[in-house]
């Protein structure tokens, strides 16, 4: 292996690592706020990427109807829960909160979709379709189980993953899609050629992390979300709604997943079930970050990406095995440190 190849692998690994970092952060956020291990994160990636790819061919993804349907079902549950105390203002707020984004996205998609639509608009539309799935799925599948054990929530998450994967096959078909790059520039840097897409991935990842950091450290809403993650009982005692925090965490996770999908759709051929393995690699990073630490998760994601690209070079058949084996020493170490097994938190 010469320097050029090494640098190429480095670029490749870190680019993938950036995506895993985003997904890992979303997983840590969702787990610390709701105790749900978000297995369906991969579907958000696949749906976002596939919707983006379809939009760039000028087609309207039927994902808009899934997004509308999920939000409507969640709204129905909200209204059922509020029955008896239906008032004009609170009713309007409930409807607007659930339906504004999916309805606007659906209308905008029908109006704007075409072969010459700007990539940026396509990306925003894809995000707008997937993001409402987060709070919707939380409302339907997880909110009724808020007091359940971590294991119950995990089993539910697997169920949701399988359901979404089936839905993905239904709406996108078994065919693979690839989207045009956000930037087709090639930058020569010494022996290395850096693709514009890699730069875009790094830039967007950095921006998202910066935005998350600002929200969590500066805004009261962000602090309330962090407070829920730090101490759920304490958060309830000051009146922070656990269900609202959960819906927000799921919304952020779905948006991050979709964004990751949009970013990788130009470099990877995406199938309806591709997201799962990508999501799992984000999960490896989150585990290495002990499901609690954001900085550790980002570092671990870089390591996962590098390990993947290096093994892809030396023994490509084994790359997934190597990546997933990374969690074994960590799990071993953690189980040794907590000698008695903890089923619960």
């Amino acid at each position: 292996m010469d320097l050029t190849i090494f640098l190429f692998l480095l670029q490749d690994g870190l680019t993938n690592g950036a995506i895993y970092a985003l997904l890992g952060l979303a997983l840590v956020l969702v787990f610390s706020v709701t105790r749900v291990i978000l297995i369906p994160q991969g579907e958000f990636v696949a749906f976002g990427g596939l919707a983006f790819a379809l939009l760039s061919t000028g087609k309207v993804p039927s994902l808009i109807y899934v997004s509308l349907g999920t939000s409507l079902a969640a709204l129905a549950l909200d209204l059922w829960h509020l029955r008896g105390s239906w008032q004009g203002a609170s009713l309007m707020r409930a409807v607007a909160w659930r339906m504004a984004l999916p309805v606007i996205t659906a209308l905008a998609t029908l109006a704007l979709a075409g072969p010459h639509t700007l990539l940026l608009i396509n990306a925003l539309l894809a995000l707008g379709m997937v993001a409402p799935l987060g709070p919707g799925i939380y409302r339907i599948a997880f909110e009724p189980l808020a007091e359940a054990s971590v294991l119950t929530l995990l089993i539910t998450a697997v169920g949701v993953h399988l359901a979404l994967e089936g839905l993905g096959l239904l709406i996108f078909g078994a065919e693979g899609f690839r989207a045009p790059p956000l930037s087709s520039a090639q930058i020569a840097a010494g022996p290395l050629t850096i693709s514009g897409q890699s730069v875009a991935i790094f830039a967007v990842t950095a921006l998202v992390m910066l935005a998350l950091w600002q929200v969590f450290s500066r805004t009261l809403t962000g602090k309330a979300l962090r407070a829920t993650a730090i101490n759920r009982t304490g958060a309830r005692l000051v009146g922070i709604s656990a269900t609202r925090a959960g819906a927000q965490a799921f919304g952020i996770a779905a948006a991050i997943g979709a964004l990751s999908g949009v970013l990788i759709a130009p470099v990877t051929t995406l199938y309806y079930d591709t997201g799962f393995i990508i999501g799992l690699k984000g999960f490896v990073a989150a585990i290495l970050g002990a499901l609690t630490s954001f900085p550790l998760t980002v570092l671990a994601a870089g390591a996962v990406g590098l390990a993947e690209s290096l093994t892809a070079f030396f023994a490509s058949d084994f790359k997934d095995i190597v990546v997933f084996s990374l969690i074994l020493p960590v799990l071993l170490l953690r189980s040794l440190r907590h000698a008695r097994a903890e089923d619960e938190e």
Partner: protein, 237 residues
């Protein structure tokens, strides 16, 4: 005498199939400290958690004349109830200031500067430590922060679970002074204490809890003079 702000009638609380509190009744008035004393495991904390909505409560519970059984915790906080839990439940990795600001969460959108200054005036220690992480503070400071955070929601009823637990006597007396000031300013206080002597000295009304029942209830001075209670809870002199 003013109207009670909190009333329980025949209130029971269960953990799954096990009933821990069996049909107790009480009423707490503004400007009054009501204390519940009793041994460990008598059901005091369970009762307080159920009033706050952390556990389901059977029977009648009204706050300001309105039934609260179906209210969520955030609705109870917004209505003016606050609980300082025995374990304090602070946001350890966050600063003192952030903990206090989040205490005013149900009034978000409104200025909280005056409330912050009022808490700092009551607990000058918190002002000195405003940028320190909550989990690096001493036990007494954490208790002050927990009470301060509860006050940020402008509670009409403040419920305190063992505020003296594990604290040095001087800090306990400081905290009881603050609780008494709050009472004089019109707050209703429901206080749970194992330190029966301090609690009975501070309170106007008291109930004694044993195995999930109130075995006696009345003016704190009367309870404190009861020979049976003196021998069980106050020790002999």
């Amino acid at each position: 005498m003013s109207e009670p702000i909190l009333t329980l009638q025949n209130a029971s609380v269960s953990y799954g199939a096990v009933e821990a509190v069996h049909g107790v009744s009480l009423s707490v008035r503004p400007g009054e400290i009501f204390t519940v004393i009793g041994a460990n495991g008598a059901g005091k904390t369970t009762l307080l958690n159920a009033i706050m909505g952390l556990l389901p409560l059977r029977g009648t519970a009204t706050f300001q004349g309105r039934a609260i059984n179906d209210l969520s915790i955030e609705q109870r906080v917004a209505a003016g109830m606050a609980l300082v839990a025995e374990s304090r439940e602070l946001f350890g990795a966050m600063s003192v200031l952030d903990n206090l600001r989040l205490g005013a969460w149900t009034r978000r959108g409104h200025a909280d500067g005056d409330d912050l200054e009022a808490v700092f005036a009551r607990f000058p220690r918190l002002k000195e430590r405003r940028d320190q992480r909550a989990d690096t503070m001493s036990g007494g400071e954490r208790q002050m922060l927990a009470i301060g955070r509860a006050l940020m929601s402008r509670p009409k009823l403040l419920m305190l679970d063992e505020p003296s637990l594990g604290l040095a006597p001087r800090i306990v007396s400081d905290i009881f002074k603050v609780i008494d000031t709050l009472r004089l300013q019109g707050t209703a206080v429901l206080l749970i204490e194992q330190n029966a002597r301090a609690a009975l000295a501070a309170a106007q009304h008291a109930a004694v809890m044993e195995l999930g029942n109130f075995t006696s209830q009345g003016p704190a001075a009367v309870i404190a003079a009861d020979p049976g209670i003196i021998s069980s809870y106050l020790g002999l002199h």
